[in-house]
Amino acid sequence: MTVLLIALMGLGGLAAVLYPLRRHYEKDESWEFRLQLQELVATKETLYSTLKELDFDRVSGKLSEEDFRQLEARYRARAIEVLKAIDALKEEAPEDDEELAIAIEREILALRTKLEAPPPPSQPEADPEPSCPGCGCPIRTADNFCPHCGADLTPPSK
C-alpha cells in the first residue's frame, strides 16, 4: 500500500510536469508590446499618485504655492512623455491584436483627459498669513479692504 502511494506521488508529479511539454503554445507576436504597455501604465499610476500627493501637500500647507507649481509642471511634463511613449507603441504594435489596440486607446484617452484637466486652483487659505496683493502688508482673511493701502480685497464676482 505504502509503495503504491509513493509510486503514485512520483508518477503523478511526473505527469503534471510532462503534460505542458506536450502542449504547443502559440507564438505571441505582441507580448513584448503588452509588457511595455504594462510598464508605461505603472509609470503613469506612479505619476498620478505623485501629482495627487503634491496637491495634498499643498492643501495641507506643507508645500508653498510656488514650489507646488514648479514641481507640478515637472511631473506633468513626465506624464506627457508617457503619453508620447504610449502613442509610439500604437504605431509599432501588430495591427491584428485588437485587445492590445483597445488597451492602448483606453490609456491614451485616460491620460489626455487627465492632462487636459485644468490645474487645481491656487489656495490662498492654505497660507497662514495672508497678505495684501497691493502692498504686501499682512491682512486678515475677513478684511474687505487693506488696512494699510486701502486696496479692495473682495474677491471678483464670477
Binding site: 505504502t2 502511494l5 509513493i6 506521488m9 512520483g10 503523478g12 508529479g13 503534471a16 510536469v17 510532462l18 503534460y19 505542458p20 511539454l21 502542449r23 504547443h24 503554445y25 502559440e26 505571441d28 507580448w31 503588452r34 509588457l35 504597455l37 504594462q38 510598464e39 501604465v41 505603472a42 499610476e45 506612479t46 505623485t50 500627493e53 503634491l54 495634498f56 501637500d57 492643501v59 495641507s60 500647507g61 506643507k62 508645500l63 508653498s64 514650489d67 514641481l71 485587445e99 492590445l100 488597451a103 483606453r106 490609456e107 485616460a110 487659505e125 497662514p128
Partner: protein, 659 residues
Amino acid sequence: MGDIGYYGILLAGFFSLYAGVASFWGGKLRSPELIASSRSAAYVVTVLTTIAVLALEYILLTDNFSFAGVATTSNRSLPFAYKGAALWGGQANSLLFWVWLLTIFSAVVHYQNREKNRPLMPFVTTVIMGTALFFYILLIFSDNPFWILSPAPPDGRGLNPLLQDPAMVIHPPMLYLGYIAWTIPFAFAIAALVTGRLGDEWIRTTRRWSLAAWCFLGVGNLLGAWWAYRELGWGGYWGWDPVENVSILPWITGTAFLHSVMLQEKKGMLKVWNLVLIMMTFTLSIFGTFIVRSGVISSVHAFAQSNLGFFFLVYLGVVIGVSLGLLFWRLDKLQSANTLDSFLSRESTFLVNNLILVGAAFSIWWGTVFPLISEAITGTRVTVGPPFFNRVNVPIGISLLLLLGVGPVIAWRKASAKHLKKHFMKPILIGFIAGMVLFALGVRHFYALLALSLGAFVLTTIVGEFYRGTRARQRTSEEGAAQALVNLTRKNKRRYGGYIVHLGIVAIFAGIAASSAFQVQKEVTLRPGEMASLGDYWLQYQDAGERSEARFQTVFTNVSLRRNGMEIEHMLPARRLYRNPETPTTEVAIRSTLKEDVYILLGSVNEDGSATFRFFLNPLVSWIWIGGLIFVLGTIIIVLPEPQRRRSPAPRVPEKVVR
C-alpha cells in the same frame, strides 16, 4: 506513514531541481513549454512537501518514537497542542517546516503571477526552487525527521519545558514566516538583474510580500521578547543574545529597504542600494537560520559536530557571490534617473534613516560574530554583552526616534522653510514641555529623558499630520471630521498606515526607555507574614505549598500585593521541576498595568519556612506589547487592497495554447 514522508522529501528535492533548471532554460530560450512545465513542477513540490509535513504531524500525534523527528522533540506526557507544535521543534523538523512554508509561498507567487511578470517569473522560479533545493539537500544528507532509530526508544526526549508556552508555540512560525517571505522579493530582485528589467516592476510586485515578511519578523521578535519576559525570569525581555540578534538583523535591514524603495518608486533613485538591501535582508535571514541551527553560538567547535553548518556556509557563499556578481554585471544599467529636488525633503530624511539603520545592523552583526571570530582565531572566546550593544544602539535608537518625528512633517521633494517652522514649533514645544515635566518629576537618566521627550515630539507630529490631513480633506469635501479621518486613511493607506506603524514604534521605544532606565529590583528573604516594600507597593509573603502534577512538581508561594494598606492582588510565584526531561523552571507572577508591572520571581523556599524572592518594578513594559499591536494594525492598513479605484486594469499577458 514515515516512508511516505521520507520519499515525499526525496521526490520534492528531485522536482525542485528540475523546476529550477527547466525554468532557467525556459526563461533563457523563451520557451513557454519549458516555463509551464517548471511551473507545474513548482506546484508538485508544494504538494509533495505538504504530504511530508502531514506524515510528520501524523507520527508526532501518534507518538511514533521510532522516528528521529518524534523521539527528539516529543514524549508521551506532552500535551496534545505541544505535540502538534513539535513540527517546528528540533532541528530536522524545523528544516522541513521551513521548506514547507517556502513551497506554500512559491505556490501563491506562481498563482498570483500566472498572467503577469512573464519575463521575470522563470528566474523567480529558479531562485525559489534553488533555495528550496538547498533545504531538501539538508534534509536528505544532514538531518531528517523520518530517519529511523534502532532500537526505537520507549519514550521521547520531550520538549524543553521552557519552550512549553503559548508564546513559544506561535513565536517560531512567525519568525520563519518572516525569514522565508523575504525569499520572494529577493527572487524578484535576482530575476530583475538576470533579465535587465531593472525598473521598479520587481519592487511594485513584491511590495506586499516585503511588508508581510517585515511584519511577521517584527511580531516574531516581539513574541520572543514576551516569552523571555514571562518565562526566563530575569526581569527583562531582551538580552542581546545571539539568537535574538540574528532575528532582529533582517528586520532592521528590511525596515531600511521598505523606506528606500519609496525613493526608487517616486524618483527612480537608489536602484543599486535597494538591490543591496534586499540581498542583505535575504542573506541575513539565511544567516539567522545558520547561526541558530549550526550550533556555532555555543562554540565554534560545535560547528564541526554536524555537516549542517558546512552546507549553510557554502549556500551563503553561493548566494552572496551570485548576487554581487549579477549586481556588478548590471551596474551600468542601474544609474539613478534623478537627483534630490532639495535637501529639505522627505527623501533626504529617508537617506539618513537608511544610513542609521544599516549602521545599527552592522554594529549588531559585528557584536554577534566577533566572539565567534575571536574564538576561531585565538582559541579564546571574547564575550560581547549588553553593555556593548546598549552603548552603540541607544544613541542610534534615539536618532531614529528623532527622524520618526521629522520625516512625516517634511514634504516629499521640497519642503519650504516657512512651513517647516510652522509645523515644527508645536511638536518641539510639546517635546520640550514633556522633558521639563519629567525632569521636575525627578527623572535624571539622560537617555530616558531624551527618548521620552522625543516620544512626545513624535506623537505630536503624527497627531498633527492626521489633524492637518483631516482638515485639508474637510476643506475640499463636505465630510464630517470622523468621516474625513477615515477616508483620509483609506485613500492614502501607505502614508497614514505608515504613521500608525510609527505610533506603535514610539510606544515600543517609550516602553523600552522607561523599563530600562527606571527598573527597580530587590532581592529579599521573608518569613511568613513579613512584608517588603517596592516603590508604592508592599509585598507580603503569606505561606508556601506544593502541588504534584503529571508532568511536573510545583512549589508555590502566596504573596499579597498591597498598596495604601489594601490588598490589590493575590500573586502566586512558583518554581516547577519537570520530570521529563528533568528541568527546573521559574513561574513568574506578574501584575501588569499600563503604568508598570510588578514582577515577582521565587528564588527558593527555605527549610525554616522563609522564602527568597526577587521583586521587580518595570515601568511602562505593557506599552511594548501595545506598541506591537499598533504596529500590526498599521501594517494591515498598508497592505489592505485599494478601495474600488477607477483605474484601468493593467493589460494582461496570458499564454495562448493552440492545442
